[in-house]
């Protein structure tokens, strides 16, 4: 059941240094390499104004070492996405115009970091994103409003109400989630067998 992609489907780019007075970079384990790639194009003083926040698997030494080697002004190493996001909110609470945000990793990481940033007043134009790693989606059930992380199948069973949900391309920046809609409402039990599609 493919859905022709729609306007709200996020489009990601490639991280590149932007003019700015302060650079906040957030990456999960998959996204860390995008920061290392950005560093190749960055002017020498870029990391003197940089604050890197890393999440989950970035705890692995293989990912940590190259980020430490960039010698950012601040390096926050957290072990959970939730911790990284609350660190981001704290940092943005005291930030001013000229702050640029760079986010790299899975769609779930990017979406939730953007959600925090938009809440803090960061303009979309000041946020650069790069998708790395799995295509697993964060989905909100349109019926019981439960958020389901790391969704890889189409359709998916809601962990809240149990309905089989069709995962749409329809995306909410406010919720940082794709919309999941009951797929067999007309004929309960007729949902197709879930297939791994967001990998």
């Amino acid at each position: 059941m493919p859905e022709t992609s729609i306007k709200s489907r996020p489009v990601y780019g490639t991280l590149a240094p932007q003019p700015g007075t302060r650079h906040i970079l957030l990456a999960d384990g998959d996204g860390a390499a995008a920061i290392v790639d950005l560093a190749r194009a960055a002017p020498p003083e870029f990391f003197e104004r940089a604050h890197i926040i890393t999440a989950p698997a970035a705890g692995a030494m293989a990912v940590r070492a190259p980020l430490r080697a960039l010698a950012p002004a601040v390096l926050d190493e957290t072990d959970r996405l939730a911790a990284a996001l609350s660190r981001l909110a704290e940092v943005l609470a005291g930030a001013g115009m000229g702050t640029r945000l760079y986010v790299a990793g899975t769609e779930g990481t990017i979406g939730q970091a953007m959600q925090v940033a938009l809440d803090a007043g960061v303009e979309l134009g000041a946020i650069a994103t790069e998708h790395r790693g799995s295509r697993a989606r964060r989905v909100q059930c349109a019926h019981c409003k439960t958020f389901i992380d790391e969704v890889t199948t189409q359709p998916v069973a809601c962990s809240g109400c149990g309905l089989m949900l069709f995962v749409r391309d329809h995306y909410s920046r406010r919720l940082a989630a794709f919309q999941g809609v009951c797929v067999d409402a007309e004929e309960p039990g007729s949902a197709p067998t879930p297939e791994e599609v967001f990998t």
Partner: protein, 319 residues
């Protein structure tokens, strides 16, 4: 097509500085004028002898008050005559026709803070914005740059009305507005609105971009009064007529005077409403608008008659 024009009566004229007058316009038939938002402008029709002009002026009254519109007009003696007409011929009781308000310089209500930067008479749309922010309880700061206090029309009343939110910068007193340092200390979520001389607007935008402000947070007034120029003629392909454009007239005004009106809105090269197809051009189109892209100008197929002119042998428009 545009909405019909509105008949208004000038109820008050005040000389604010030697060069700036304030006019209050009230509906001829009483009642209310159409609602508007901070940053909006109106076109005022002036019958100046054989010429009918329509000049755009920003509304500077409070958007909460629609019993009348307030405009501030700076006299430009080297201009095409519209501001001189307003200064010399318009008195309390004068009847005028105006177009419905339009806003090409709108407020972004998502901003956490609004930073307003005015240079000289560019203060006018920002006054209406300040009124709107004050009414809605939205944080704002107004910086007003002028040569001296005598050149800063409305500064005293702004200081009185909005107190510490208003900051003046007088270059003659050695206190020139320092865009870069002002922009460097703004909190996240600030939006910038600039109106004034092109040089001020360019400087503010360049400073903001260099500091890393994203485009969505930058706003500037784009319409500008059409400049005087050399007379020229245009040919209208559909009727085969020839229309002469005088030195003090815009092409749009000449077309209107000739009974071949073109739909228009800002009359200052910003909105794109009067875009007209060029069928033949033996000469040079003197584009003066902010609307057509470089590629469109290069292709030579379109012109904005509100501000752009022509030099050469012949110009044929799809009219």
């Amino acid at each position: 097509m545009s909405a019909p024009s509105i008949a208004v009566r000038v109820s008050e004229v005040a000389a604010v500085t030697p060069l700036v007058k304030r006019f209050r316009l009230e509906p001829e038939s009483g009642g209310r004028l159409p609602a508007f938002s901070g940053g909006a402008h109106i076109a005022v029709e002036m019958q100046d002898g054989a010429h009918r002009r329509r000049n755009a002026f920003s509304l500077m009254g409070s958007p909460s008050d629609t019993t009348g519109y307030v405009i501030g007009v700076r006299r430009h003696d080297n201009g095409r005559g519209g501001s001189r007409y307003m200064h010399e011929r318009v008195t309390p009781g004068t009847m005028l026709r105006i177009a419905h308000p339009a806003n090409l310089f709108p407020i972004d209500g998502r901003a956490r803070k609004h930073l307003l930067l005015a240079g000289g008479i560019g203060i006018t749309p920002l006054v209406a914005m300040a009124e709107q922010f004050a009414r809605d309880g939205q944080p704002f700061e107004l910086h007003y740059a002028a040569r001296s206090p005598e050149h800063a029309a409305f500064a005293d009343e702004l200081l009185e009305r909005f107190g510490p939110a208003v900051h003046t910068h007088f270059s003659a007193q050695g206190r020139r507005l320092a865009c870069a340092s002002l922009l460097a200390e703004q909190p996240l979520g600030t939006h910038l609105y600039v109106c004034g001389p092109e040089t001020l607007m360019d400087e503010a935008f360049a400073s903001a971009r260099a500091l890393g402000w994203p485009e969505q947070s930058l706003h500037r007034e784009r319409f500008a009064a059409p400049a005087r120029g050399l007379p020229f003629a245009v040919r209208l392909a559909r009727s085969g007529r020839r229309v002469d454009v005088g030195a003090d007239q815009s092409m749009l005004e000449a077309l209107e005077a000739a009974g071949a009106p073109v739909a228009s809105l800002c009359r200052g090269g910003a909105c794109g409403q009067c875009e007209t197809r060029v069928l033949a051009c033996d000469g040079t189109l003197l584009h003066a608008d902010h609307y057509l892209s470089a590629a469109e100008r290069g292709a030579g197929g379109k012109v904005m008659p509100c501000v752009s002119r022509f030099a050469g042998r012949s110009l044929t428009l799809d009219l």
